[in-house]
């Protein structure tokens, strides 16, 4: 299950989707909108994507996980549009017989998603300014920051 959606992410549904008779472990990663990044305050985020390519890239990454690890199932949802404070922007659930696999596969998948999948975040800071986040691009006002 791979989904790009404007609706709030239902993590309980994701966990249920990866249930499997051979699964002994489920790892769920949730990226949430944090209010404070160091001392800067966020009002909300907005995400946009290149829909066809994002879907294709996510499918490729999920296939690569299945080649590299013995996972039972994978479910991944990325939210688009406005995401309010504390809400999930992305959730990835991986089930497997043993926990090490689920941890490794889940972490690999979110790392690759953040490097490769054409989705972009726009910070809407509490002071009213908007700022597209483009890691590695010099921003005159703020140095590059780590994301979640």
């Amino acid at each position: 299950m791979i989904d790009l959606t404007h609706e709030p992410i239902d993590t309980a549904q994701l966990l249920a989707r990866v249930g499997d008779r051979r699964a002994g472990a489920i790892v769920l990663f949730v990226g949430v909108t944090r209010e404070f990044t160091d001392d800067r305050q966020t009002a909300h985020l907005e995400y946009e994507c290149y829909p066809e390519m994002a879907q294709t890239k996510l499918e490729e990454l999920v296939s690569q996980v299945r080649e590299r690890w013995e996972v039972c199932d994978i479910a991944l949802v990325h939210r688009l549009g406005r995401v309010d404070l504390g809400e999930a922007s992305v959730a990835i659930a991986v089930s497997s017989a043993h926990r090490k696999t689920a941890f490794e596969a889940g972490q690999w998948l979110i790392d690759r998603l953040k490097e490769q999948v054409p989705i972009w975040k726009c910070e809407n800071w509490a002071d009213g300014r908007q700022e597209w986040v483009h890691p590695g691009l010099e921003s005159p006002s703020h140095p590059a920051r780590d994301e979640s």
Binding site: L113, C122, L137
Partner: protein, 84 residues
């Protein structure tokens, strides 16, 4: 050399800088991705810093500067991504 007409999809800051979701360009008929980038930077100088760290995708796959374009390709400018 016949001209080739292509459209380039723009996202995030790229979309904001050019003020459109798609821009049309005229390139030489054997144009590569490198030539596309140079043409873009020439017509939209405000894009240059972003272009330097962006990828070009053709039909949904990242391609190198040497990739040769054709008018049937779906071309997109992919600034550094920040999903998650």
């Amino acid at each position: 050399m016949d001209p080739m007409h292509v459209s380039v999809k723009c996202f995030a800051l790229a979309r904001q800088l050019v003020g459109a979701e798609k821009i049309d360009l005229e390139l030489g008929d054997d144009a590569t991705v490198l030539i596309l980038k140079q043409t873009l930077a020439g017509q939209y100088p405000q894009m240059e810093p972003l272009l330097n760290s962006s990828m070009i995708a053709v039909d949904g796959q990242y391609v190198s500067d040497a990739f040769r374009l054709s008018p049937s390709h779906e071309i997109a400018c992919i600034p550094p991504v920040s999903g998650g």
